[in-house]
């Protein structure tokens, strides 16, 4: 469960830039939420705070009841390792490593034994919908959609309580984007994963169950998504 209480973030290198202003919301376990807003509205900044990559200038952020907003670098690293999975717009895979090694990487930092790492990485890849024939390919031999599913598997492998995806379809065409969105929907419905999807496109946001709309660092709307889009299986393969 996620709880933000009056979160503000101000960058003050040279000039003072308030990016997030008094943001408060709650996200329950198993929700699929889209955070939507135009470019520069503070979505990524918010995601960095939710993902324990950064701390707010003021306000409190609770993740599963733990106050993350005042933690040290190493404590934040532990929170990321144990509770959070990231999916980025530009995949961020190690290009010269195999798919399996990419997916197992978070487990290396978690101190898991190699055999268990491989087992869990394979399971995560199956959940993310990547075909088994690709497991030993180098990640730079894959298509964009496949790369993003490897990245989703990497986000899943630690069994996190929260998956954060920042513009995950931004580098993909509509069709492969749909596949990725379908993967998130499946993970949410079948695995009950909590997913926060960040996007500037309404079309993408409408795949979630709830949309938080932000503009200039303030929430202007937070409501259930009434016309949820579904990506159908037949559509994809």
């Amino acid at each position: 469960m996620i709880e933000c209480k009056n979160i503000s973030k101000t960058y003050s290198d040279g000039e003072v830039t308030p990016v997030l202003k008094n943001i408060s919301f709650k996200i329950d376990d198993g929700e699929f939420v889209a955070i939507m807003g135009p470019s520069g509205s503070g979505k990524s900044t918010l995601m960095h705070i939710l993902g324990a990559l950064d701390t707010p200038t003021s306000g409190k952020y609770f993740l599963d009841g733990i106050d993350v907003s005042t933690m040290s670098d190493d404590q934040l690293a532990d929170v990321r390792k144990n509770k959070i999975g990231f999916v980025f717009q530009s995949f961020n895979l190690l290009s010269r490593a195999t798919v399996l090694r990419n997916v197992a990487l978070p487990l290396v930092y978690a101190g898991i034994e190699p055999l268990e790492r491989e087992e869990r990485a394979k399971k995560a890849l199956v959940q993310a919908g990547l075909d088994e024939s690709r497991f030993y390919h180098l990640s730079n031999q894959l298509s964009g959609g496949q790369m993003q599913r490897v990245a989703i598997a990497r986000a899943l492998v630690n069994n996190p309580s929260l998956i954060l995806a920042d513009e995950p379809t931004g580098n993909l065409d509509t069709k492969t984007g749909d596949i990725v969105l379908h993967t998130f929907q499946t993970l949410n419905q079948e695995q009950k994963k909590t997913i926060i999807l960040i996007t500037h496109e309404l079309y993408v946001a409408e795949h979630a169950n709830r949309i938080i709309h932000i503009r200039d660092g303030v929430i202007i709307e937070d409501k259930k998504n009434d016309n949820k889009r579904f990506v159908h299986h037949t559509h994809i393969y």
């Binding site: 930092y109 101190g111 630690n158």
Partner: protein, 410 residues
């Protein structure tokens, strides 16, 4: 993060850019290799000089005619014009100076030697029996010059192994040489002994010498009662200084000289020779070592340069690793390990390369070299240290990257 995982990450990171890793390692190989080779040359030079000096004998004091001369002048070639040392001086030292184990006067000169059609030119040394003890000469076959030989002005000779080979051909056995005659300056001498090889080369080698009775050298060959040196063996290391002063005083008195600076003889002791020679070789070692050390530093800067480039190139990767839970320490350990592995591989290859170089130097030149285990240990220590020193800053830089900035980096 486990150590085996760190090594695994290091392995794949270094192999992903083989050429660059290879060139960086090469810098360390050259640095460590030249340190090993240079130190081996210095060590070899020191060893051969020290063994030459030790071969002279132990607790040795040498008196030579003529004014004070520096170290490095051959102690065995006493062909100087001064004829100030006599048999009586030697006897007086033996009888009047305390703390003396033995006194060995000698007269040496170079002559043409012939034997059954072959000939050679070498140093002929007129000696007394004590010379073998004082100057550490061992007879391998036969006998050394005896008191009886000296008393009766015998025409007998003890030859060194080099002379034996020059006159009778290599491979001849000592027994068949004993009893043969040779002509020294056209006078017939009978060989009664062959000395044991001592090693060493050059004109001061004691293997390339002929010993005859002192009286025979003075009366039959040189025709003068003078001596080229008086070698004195003190009873122990501690009494050398005392013996040296006593000998000086005695000789000044016998030669009627009141001002010690005008002495017509000079005295050297073995520790003077050893210490001045080793100060020369120490300087040589430092010089060679520092030349090599500079190339090692250049290699280290190469490591640092590569690591900094790597950190910049892999900024996004660092950001990602942090996002998935790597701590600052995990990142710095990884980059430091990369640097240390590079220098360690370089150090290992460098030791092999330096060893090979020193073997080749010994084989194809007259310079003796010696690779010591301490210089190998030193090289490994230094290479690991270079990895740590020059890898530390890049590793710190990598660890200090802000994950958000790093992920955004293009």
């Amino acid at each position: 993060m486990k150590f085996t995982d760190t090594l695994q990450e290091t392995y794949s990171a270094l192999l992903s850019n083989k050429v660059r890793s290879g060139l960086t390692v090469l810098g360390i190989v050259i640095g460590i290799g030249s340190v090993i080779a240079m130190i081996s040359i210095g060590q070899g030079a020191q060893n051969s000089i020290e063994s030459n000096i030790q071969a002279l004998g132990s607790n040795l004091i040498i008196v030579m005619p003529g004014a004070q001369r520096g170290v490095g002048i051959q102690v065995s070639s006493g062909r100087g014009s001064a004829t100030t040392l006599t048999n009586e001086d030697a006897t007086a030292i033996e009888q009047g100076v305390g703390g003396v184990q033995a006194v060995a006067p000698d007269l040496s000169s170079r002559y043409q030697i012939t034997a059954k059609g072959t000939n050679t030119n070498t140093s002929v040394d007129g000696v007394t029996p004590s010379y073998s003890q004082v100057r550490n000469i061992t007879v391998e076959t036969g006998d050394f010059i005896s008191d009886q030989n000296v008393k009766s002005v015998s025409r007998v000779a003890v030859i060194g192994p080099t002379v034996r080979d020059d006159l009778f051909g290599e491979g001849i056995d000592n027994d068949s040489v004993i009893g043969q005659t040779i002509k020294i300056n056209k006078i017939l001498f009978t060989i009664i002994g062959v000395t044991k090889a001592k090693g060493g080369s050059g004109p001061s080698s004691q293997d390339d010498m002929i010993f005859v009775p002192l009286s025979s050298a003075q009366k039959l060959l040189v025709g003068s009662e003078r001596l080229s040196t008086i070698s004195i063996q003190a009873i122990d290391q501690g009494s050398m200084a005392d013996v040296q002063t006593q000998v000086t005083d005695l000789l000044l008195q016998r030669h009627n000289i009141s001002d010690p600076t005008k002495a017509d003889f000079s005295i050297m002791n073995q520790s003077d020779i050893v210490s001045s020679a080793s100060s020369i070789t120490d300087t040589l070692k430092i010089l060679l070592g520092s030349i090599a050390g500079i190339s090692l530093i250049v290699g280290g800067i190469g490591i640092m340069n590569m690591m900094l480039t790597t950190v910049t190139e892999r900024t996004r990767e660092i950001g990602l690793r942090k996002a998935i839970g790597a701590k600052n320490k995990d990142i710095s350990t990884q980059f430091l390990t990369e640097a240390i592995v590079l220098t360690f591989v370089g150090g290992f290859l460098g030791v092999l390369f330096g060893w090979l170089a020193s073997l080749l130097i010994t084989k194809f030149s007259s310079i003796a070299t010696q690779v010591s285990s301490s210089s190998i240990l030193l090289a490994f220590g230094v290479s690991a240290l270079i990895g740590i020193v020059f890898g530390y800053y890049p590793a710190r830089r990598a660890a200090g990257l802000n994950p958000i900035e790093a992920l955004r980096y293009e």
